[in-house]
Each structure stands twice: as C-alpha cells, then as structure tokens.
Symmetry: D2
C-alpha cells in the first residue's frame, strides 16, 4: 500500500531522489514524485511530496536515511520512541545508531539537542536530556531511542560555506599544491588561536623521523597546540633522540644507522622508568629537550594510548584502552581543530570520537592512508598527501 | 692501547671484518687483521686474530655485536656480569638487550640456555636459570645480565640450510610467482601438521573483505590452525557477515553497499553482548557460521587484542593490553609457524614476541607493509605480496 | 539579460541542476528553475525550463557541458557551425573537443553519427560525413565543427543497465572479493566469444614475472584473445624465458637470481635480430614456447609500441610512435572488450583511443594505478586490485 | 680438473668469496681458498689464490663477474677476443655485455679505455679504439669483444669516498630528514656550477601539479640547469598553465577543477601548432611564462620524447624514439649530475644511458618508484621520497 510523505530540505543538493530510488531498488519497492518545488539555487531548501510503495523495512530505512541527511519529514515529528535496555552494554535491536552530525530528538513536544555527539553511539534519554553514549556504557534500564521517528539531523550550514578550507578534500592525490593548503591552514590556526580556541594534534613517530620535530616544538612554544594524542612510540623516539641523538637507532643528524643503536629505545624507556614518569624525567633533568619536554614545560596535556605492539611501555602510556579512549575523548571535547599527522591507528581512533563540526586535517605521505581516513565517515576531514617533516617546517614558517 | 681478540665463526659469511671496520670508523679506532684462517666454503667456520686500537665503548660494542652474530670469542667466556635492579621496571644502564636468536649465558662454569627468548628483553638470572624478561616485569633486586661478556648467540644452522623456504624473502616485490611460494608453504604446513606442530595465524579483517574466509574456515576444519591472534575488527566483521551478510555494511556476495548497512557492525556487537561472549553466542545459536564460529566449534583458542580505534568492543576483546600481550605471548609459545595476514599492527605485536627459529610468513597486498614487517628484526620472516583472498583460496586448495 | 532554455534528459540522475549551479558560481551568473517535470524513476527522462543570467562564455560552457552529458536542448538543434582549418594540424580556437561517448552532429536538417569516436579529438566534416580526427591529422581547409551547437551525445542505455558488470568500479580498494569479479568477467568473455566478438589484451611484463603466462597462453589457445597490445619488454622477457628460463635474469621456476642472467635479455634480442622478426624466430625454431609463440602460431596480431626506456629493441617494436598509435587504434577498432594488465603506460595510451561503449577492465596490484586509469575519463573502465598472476590463473580456470 | 686463479682487489669489501661460493653452488662446482692476504682495512686491496673445480660455463661466469666487480685477474690480461658481427644489429652469442662502470679492454699489449660507456651495450673495436655501442647500431663486420678475457672494470674510488652524498641511498623510506638531504644536494649543485659543470633535470608533469614550477623556473634563471629531458605532458601542462591558468583543467591557484577545462590541453597544443614550435610560440609572444618559456629565453636545450599515450603531440615532441634516445644520450653526455623528478618512464630511459660516475638523484613521493629506479643497476642513484613541489621550493631556497 502506498504511503505518501512530505519532505523538506536540500533535495537537489543531497541527491535525495536518487537515494530514494536506490532504496526502492534494494527493497523491490516503487516510488512516484507527486510534487517537487525546488529553490532558486542548489543550496536553497526544496520540498516534495513522494508516494512510496515499499515494505515496512524499506520504508523505515528510507525515513532513517533522509533523517540522517538533515531532511525534515513533518510526519516524523512525533515523540521519539524510547525502550529500556534489558542488560548492561546492550540495547533493543532496532536502536537508533548515531552519526557524527548535530542531532536533535523530539521529546515532550520539543526538539532536544544531543550531547556528546559522535558516530556509532546510541541515544540515552535521562531527565529530559539526550546523551550520545557508547554501547559499552549503557546500563540496564537506560532509555534508548529506537527507530528514527522523532530524530533529526541539523544541517551544518557553516560547513557548506567553508569553501576555501574545503578545497583540499576533493582530491587526495599527491599532485597538488601543498603550499596553498598550508597557507590556508595557517590562517585557520591563527584565527582559532586568536579566539582562544583548541587545536589538538594526533601524531605518530614519523614526525620525528622526518625531521618535523623542531617545527613542532616551535609550534608548541608559540602556543598553537592545546594537546597531543599519540602512542608509546612517539614519546619513546622523542626521548631516545634527546638522550642518545638517535631515533630507533638512526642518527637524526646524519641519517646513518648507529652501531648498537637498536638498544637505545629500551635504554630511553629504562631512563624514564627510573624517573617514574615523563613529567618527572623532565623535572629531574633526565630529559632536556624535545616534543615531550616542551609539552611538559608549557603544561600542555598529552595522552599516550597503548597498543599490542608496544615495547616497554613508558609509565605514561595507558595500556588500559577503555581509560585511554576516555582520555582521548576528553581531550578532543570542544576542540576547534584536529590535525592528524602520519598515524592511521590513532587518527581513526580520534576520528571516531569527533563530531562533524570539528575542522579536521589529515597529513600523510601515503595517499591510501589519507583516503582511508577521509572515507571513514569523517566527511569533514581534509586530506593532504605530503612529506610530514616538510609540511611542519612550512606550516611553522607561516605561524 | 691495542687489544688482540681471537674470534671463531662465520667470519666470511657474516661479513665480520666489514662490521669491525664500520665500528672502528664510528669510534675513531683502528684494527689490523693479524691472522685469518678461512674454511673451504663460505658456510664453513673460520677463525681470526684481530688487533683493535679503540676506546672502551667501541671495544664493548664490537664484542657485543660479534656475540649477537654468533661469533665465539673465547676471551669472553667469563662469568656473565650480574647486577641487581634497584627499582621495579628498571635495570642498570649497561644492561644486555636481547635479540630473538637462541642465546646462552655463561654462569658458574657452564653455558645456560635462555628461556622465553624474544627481542628487546633483558636477561634475569634466577636459581641458575636465565629468563628473557620484559622490562616491565623486572622486580627490584632481580639479577640482570650486564655488558656482553659471558653471553653468546647460537648459530641456527637449520635456518641457513632452509634454502627452499627462504627463497621468498629476497624480494618483496609483487612481481613474483605467488603460486610457487604457496606450494612450498603448503608443504611446510602439512609437515608441521604431520608432527602435531603448532601453526598460529595472525589475521586482520581484510581476510573477510577479500573473500578469504571460506578457505580460512576450511583450513580450521581440516585442523591446520592451532590458534588465531587478531583484534576486535576481524571478529566483528565475521559475525556481522554471519548475522546480516555484510561486512562494514558491504554485501559480501555482490560487493555492493547495503543501505543502512553502516549500522550492522554495532548491531553485531549488541547481539554478542546479549549472549555474553562469542562462545556463548555460538552455543546459544546466535552465531551460526564464520571464522569465529569454526574456532569455537573446534575448540581452537583465539585472542582479540583491543586498540584505540575499536568500537564496542566485543566482550572477548581484551582492552587491557598488558593482559593481551601476555595472552598473545602464551599463544605463540612453542609455535612452529606463524602466518600473518594483512594486519600490520597485530603482526608487529606478534613479531616482537617470536624467537628467530619460528617460521614466519607475512602476506599483504601492500609491498610497504611486507617490507616493514620483514625489516623489523624478524630476519626469519618471509614476505609475500599478493591478494590475501586469492592467497587463502589457493593455499587451501593445496592443503 | 536572462536567456531561457528548455532541456530534456536524465536531469535527476546526472545532477544537471547541480552542474548548472556550479557553472553559474564560476561565471558569476545566476539561474532560476522555472519548471521541472521529473519522471517516475531516476532513470526516466525529465524535462525542465531554466532561466540563465550569465555572460556568453558561461552560457556556451553550460550548453556544451549539458550536450556532453546527453541532455537534449531543442534550441540547440541548429546546423552545426563549421569553420575551415587555416593550417595543417591546427583548428579554429573555439573548436569542439570530443568525448569518448557516441556523438551526433546536426547537418543539413538531420543528425549524423560521428565515426571513429575517441576522446580529445576534433570533428571534421567531409561529404556529409563526420569523422573524429586527431589534431595532428587535420589538414588545411578541413571543415571543423566549432562551438557546441548542433552537437549531441547519445545516452548509452546499455551501459546504465549493465549493473552486474559495473559493480567493480565503485571501489578500487583491494579489500574486495576478486573471485566474484573474475566469475562475472569470465561470463562476459564467453558471451563475447560466442558471438565472435573481439577481446583485446593490453599487457605489461608483470604478466610473466607473476607467473601468469601459462594461463594467458592457454587463453590464447582457447581462442579468447583477438589481439595483444604491449611494448618491447613483455616480448623480450617472454622470449628470454623461452630461451634461458629467466625473466630479467630471475629464474622463473625458483624465483632466484641467476648469476650472469642480467645479460639474458640482450641475448634474447640478439637471437631475434638474427632471425629477423619474432614471427621468423618462431618459424625457424629459435623460439619454441611462450606468449609471443602462441600468438604467432594462432595468427593473433600484436602491436609492440616503443618507449624511451627500451633496450634493443626487438625488430617488431615500433619506435615510430605515430605509426604505433595508428596500429594500436586499428587493433581496438570494433573491440567488444579491452583487458588491461599491469601496464599504466600502454593502458592509458589505449584508453585514449577507446569509445565509451567498449567494456574495459583494468587489473593491477597497485590501487593507485587502477584509480588513475579509471579516473582518466574512461568512465567505462572497471578496476580490479589484485595479483595479476593469480588473476589470470583464476580467470583461465573459469573459461 | 681444478684451475687455480690469482685475484687482487676489494676481496673483503665486495664479498668476493661469497660470490664465488654462490656461483659454485649454481654450477655444481667447488672451490678452495689456497691463500688470502687481506689489507689492514676493508677498503684496502687484498689478494688471494683460489682453486676452482667447476665446468667451463661456470668458470667463465666467475671470471666475468669478478671482472665486472673490478677485481684484477692477472691471468686474464690476455688480448681480448674479437669476433666479427655476421649481420647488422647482431653479435656473436658470447658477446661481452657492458656495465655502466668505467671499463678497459686489453688490446695489442695495453689497456684501452672504453668510450661512450653505458649499460647493456656491446664493445666494438675500431682502429684500436673501443666504443660502447647499442646492439641496434652494430654493423655487419664490426669487431665485437667476446667473453670476458682482456676486459676489466676500474674501481671508482671517488664513489666510495663520497660518504656524505651517499647517505641518502641506504633507505628510500619516507621517514627521513629530507632537509638534510636537500642541503647536501644544494652544496653539490653549487660546486658543479662553480666549475661550469653540467646538471641535467629529468622531469614529469608532477613538477607543475605540485606547484614546483616557480622554484624550477628560478633555478633555470639562476643558471643551475644545463638541460631538460622530459616528455610531451610536462610541456603541454606548462603551456596550458601559461595560456589558461590550468593544468589538465585544474586551476593551479585554487586547486579547483575549472568547468570546461579538460579541453585546455588540446587548446594549448593547437596554439603551439599555430606558431610552429615552442621556441616560435615564445618568440611570437604566444607563450609568456613558464618552464618552457624560461628554457627558450635562456637558451637551455630540452628534449621531449614521445610516448604511446601522448595527445597531440606538440611539434617539438620527438615521436621517433630512435631519434629521441639519441637526443637524450647527447644531452647527458659529460653530465656531472642528473636530477630525476617524478617520472619513472623518462628516468629509467635516462638511467640506462648514464655511466656510473654521474651523480644521480631520484625524487618521488612514491617509495616504490624511487626503489625501482635505484635498483635498476644504477647503483649511483640516490633516492629521496618526498613531495616534489616542496622539494623544489626548499632546494631553490638553498641555491
């Protein structure tokens, strides 16, 4: 039986009719466009009336998809359906799974904005407020938003207008003018700093191997960095460099392998273990320079998340990943920008936690890594395929 | 002042004189070859008398390097020097850092074989036995082997003669005959199975995306797999495939993205959470097929190590990485072969734990990943650049 | 001053309004959608009336773009404008530049189909016929189609419905089920063979290095291959393998470098030079097996195009690239399918010559190569990231 | 029957005994080291007496290999064996195939230096002089050096001592300090310029896409570039940029695709065709800036070699590759340095022509390309994995 829905939003810009068509194909349904009023321009709001002859599963899916794209469906503006969790860490089967876009839930006659927005979460309603919650944090009895009725995504207009910053994303090929991109990024960073915003860097040890650490340290001293997210390796190599002049046994001034240098990273961990922590190693004079040194000296927080491949690890490295994920999430809360430098693992981890309105830049010499990060649903991420060392040097020159 | 050392071993094969030369350049020392008796063939044992004029640091380093290469230095056959640890998780500054090669320590007049051999460990002596120990497991008061006197590496002759299996390592380029390599690998696996040996697989979710899971499940059923090391993603995608026919929302039969499928991996985790664990989900009929299903049904152990990027995770995923590393290490103990399939993170983690005599094969479509794994000091690792799905299909046909 | 155009075609499916919007942004113009009648489904024909307020350059560009997308603009159905070339190899500045889609030109009251369709050509009108012509073949006085009035692109409906064959293109990632794609490709090839169609292979020497030559030779013997396009290297390595068992000095059975083998490719060229040509070398018994041998024995034509890096070259390698391009173009004329195996250079060269209705498959282990080929305007190309040797083995099993 | 040979040279440094061992394994022979006198240091000359029990083919191969490594074998200092070619473009089967190292031939009692040294050539003796000759240039009756008796390679000591410049080669990984490498390269270039030496650049169009053209033009104006080797694409994109501000239709200032811009490269070719050549297009004012403009204005020669994928091509592009190879070879004659920028095809073509004493630098963002070029027997090539645009900017700053 045909159902008729009224929709309103960026019907042309966001290919709404093509999407409905694809869903109908998948579910052996059909549709007819009864009315279509389109705006003067692509970015204008259009409205349509569409008749759908499709089974219930397909119908729900179409409504859900349109909702997630920011399309208003007045017939959906009913009270959201809430069902209790029957067991810790579980939700009803038809739970609403969140995107990273700004979301509202219709409760008791009004739209309530979701807090702690991130992707792949569930929505828990507590005292009239709605919290985006990780599955593992759901408690038995929590009220979970189910289906997609009474849920809507706000269209982020700022994002759409941000043409200049956006230009990078179209093409992750290395055949582009990195200099232009760096210039725009520097302007953005200066604007964020001017309004006392928050810029978080996610970095891998390649920052050190490629000689980007001088520029990075300078950026810390200049006050552009509000926090660092990384793993054990960056800190170990940074401290190894300070103590022995090598990184994984390679002399950083000459690029040559130092005999016996393979042992240096374990010696560095041993030295920090003797001090008790990185902060203490800086304060007792064991560590005298480097990225970790500058962070400690300027009281910039950092989180080092452990991984299965870690040696040591340093006492600061969090090997309990539940704790590490919480600490990461805390760090990126309210961030204005996140810059991801040559570390797929920590970048994906961080990307999962970010709402879509945080400016995100991914830099790596490997186009596949950049593409993978940009593709993972972090539509806001801009990719830059280039040498991270030269990138940081150039960026710092502009700051 | 010149010191003269007598050395014995594969002086020609292992480029011993070139290595001494390089160390002398680094430490501004000089050397003279006073005598050199070489064998009839390169693989034969040679002996030499060499005069070294070099400072103490350089001298120690040369002795240490030669020792690690399996060269005997009779003048070094003194009691190993033991120093106590002064604080948990720390060792004296000149601790001996282990390789992954078979090692012996000279104690009380005889050579004692090191137990739990792995790279980047320290040697702890307890009741006349020597244990290769991770830095974090060292306790205050433990006796640590320091310097390299009284330490020697056994030359693994088996490794050298293993010409056929070794052929793959020379070139990680994709331009080679994968079929030949698969044939040899299959023979090796059958030989290991025949003697009731242990074959451990380290695998990433690409095994599922590339369609390799049917072959892999068959290999489990045939009894070739003694254990699986992986992370959260492989198990989630495997169970998602069983429950919904998709992997990360992509239909595995048609290769097309399924509308709304992005939510399926969270639905799969929710389903397992309801059962309580993967084993329970298999036993209560929630999960009816797949890699995890076959492992449970055939009582093959698996360890899933958590990472910072994990969603969920599944209740079986170990988010405490100290525990996860212990469980991994336990799994590879006494393994005869480790096959690493398209997961750099878990492969490096496992590689760190392996002694050099474990046959190790690394398969990835990306030559850079294979090269990185083979380079990381796991000299025994053979690389194979190919499509993992086709590789498993072909391998299973030969088993 | 506003101009109003009437358009008809796949307005929704091909994002026509978004494209007009983008052009207006670029040329500081504006537009209003006066009417929009859309079909029942996305694939149906829609029609619209649009008012454009934009300068002449922008207006021409929009008409040209719409035309190239197969949109009918009745107001454009005027006699095409023809201007004479004033000098060999040159055309008037506003020449119409061709796509690889089927094109018609309006001449003397009727639509005339363009012959020799390819991309980046110009249209020459001669005796009422229209020829897609390379710039270098234009002669002074030739009548050239200028502007885009009187030109239209036919929408290739077959292409759109070809859902099964098309599935590969969406994602060039290596993380997909190659087996499914191979199965579909084999079916397609059998269908083409059944109707005595033409399948051309473009191949690089990797076919030999990866061990794909046995399968490829078998495909030639079975009659699936109508012609081979390649360069000097494939033929040299193939003949080197026949004469000496090596390819670039590497033993193909063991994968080991043969001492002195680096010289073998020059010895192979010398041997063919003595015979006079590849055909003669086969006929006089010098060459006894291999890809080139099978081609000669089965009278399958081949073209070897020279390149700046060629050694030798073989007497059959065409070092005059004008001739080589003509020979390539002749070979792909009326081809039903082109399979490109691991050679970016020859694949791009061939892709430039193909009309959009030729089924095209690109296979390479490097995702970047596949992406580059698929992106180069050959919208019909399907990419497959996998090991070419295993791919050919698997494909041949299905044929 | 055992033959005893006396050898002299870098026996330890160049692993001579290991190489003899490997050849004996291949030919089922055996050897005994009867005497070995090694120098004080690895770089010193050693001498040895070795007994070989091996068949004739293996014996010849060992002598040939040792000769090519610069080992002196006094028993080999006989008159070189010369055999006439029996047919144009062919040589006797046991011809001596050249390396790119400096070579001498023993004729009439003295060593004669080979002229036009390059790899994969043959040696033609004419009037007491020896010419390294491409196979295709051999004429019937030419006297060809056969076997390896009477041939020796000179050890290039300069190369060995060139430690600083050499450091880059060890590791083509992107994880290194590009800045250090650029600094050393700039010093080298200034030294070459100071002594009026010859620096040739081989470049692909990526130089333009990545924004490196400003720096490159500046380097031309400063007089650092003695010649450019490239293909059709670099010149077309450079002139397209001058005429229309785009490169392959992408606006180089904003990085955005320009509507209708895909046609611009054909328009650029048309414009140059109207002028008649690039030089004429510069002189008649059609082309007003860019790399080609600067080359013409400063009378720096360039060679554009055609390829099978070329559109157009420009009138300057040589489509006869025999001519193009001659022109390339002429350009690199007596070059002191060759810098290869992001073009595998032209770089391999040039590398084939270079003697081993020409300093060669390969820059590409893709590690696989750098590795392939460095591996191709051009042992002198130093690889640098980085963004070419930033590389040129940085390099120009140092010049």
């Amino acid at each position: 039986m045909e159902k008729v829905i009224q929709i309103k939003g960026h019907i042309i810009r966001d290919d709404i009719i093509k999407r409905i068509d694809a869903s109908c194909v998948q579910y052996n349904g059909t549709y007819r466009v009864l009315e279509l009023q389109i705006g003067r321009q692509v970015d204008d709001i259009s409205s349509a009336k569409i008749a759908l002859d499709i089974n219930d599963e397909g119908f729900t899916l179409i409504l859900n998809e349109l909702t997630n794209l920011g399309i208003e469906i007045p017939s959906m503006n009913n009270q959201a359906r809430l069902e209790p969790s029957e067991k810790d860490k579980t939700v009803p089967d038809d739970f609403y799974s969140t995107t990273n876009h700004p979301t509202e839930v219709f409760l008791d006659g009004k739209w309530v904005r979701v807090q702690n927005q991130r992707m792949d979460g569930v929505l828990v309603v507590k005292n009239g407020e709605v919290f985006c919650t990780k599955l593992r944090d759901v408690k038995k009895g929590d009220l979970i938003v189910c289906g997609s009725e009474g849920v809507r995504i706000l269209t982020n207009n700022d994002e759409q207008n941000d043409h200049d910053f956006a230009f990078m994303v179209n093409d992750v090929s290395s055949e582009r003018r990195v200099e232009i991109a760096v210039k725009k990024l520097a302007e953005e960073m200066k604007a964020i700093k001017a309004k006392k915003g928050k810029i978080i860097v996610v970095a891998g040890p390649v920052v050190i191997h490629t000689g980007g650490m001088d520029a990075f340290q300078d950026m810390i001293r200049k006050g552009f960095i509000s926090g660092l997210l990384s793993g054990n390796a960056l800190a170990v190599h940074d401290i190894e460099r300070d103590l022995f002049g090598t990184s994984l046994g390679v002399d950083l001034d000459t690029g040559k392998v130092v005999k016996g240098g393979h042992k240096n990273h374990m010696r560095a961990i041993n030295a920090v273990n003797k001090s008790g922590s990185i902060r203490q190693a800086v304060e007792d004079g064991t560590v005298k320079s480097g990225i970790m040194y500058e962070l400690v000296k300027h009281n910039i927080p950092f989180v080092l998340a452990g991984s299965i491949r870690d040696d040591g690890p340093l006492p600061d490295t969090m090997m309990d990943l539940i704790e590490a994920q919480e600490a990461y999430a805390q760090m990126v809360k309210d961030a204005d920008m996140v810059i991801m430098l040559s570390t797929m693992l920590h970048s994906i981890g961080t990307g999962n936690m970010l709402p879509s309105w945080v400016k995100t830049v991914v830099v790596d010499i490997n186009p596949a890594v950049v593409a993978k990060l940009v593709d993972r649903g972090s539509a806001q991420a801009k990719g830059l395929v280039t040498d991270v060392g030269l990138f940081l040097t150039l960026l710092n020159q502009q700051l």
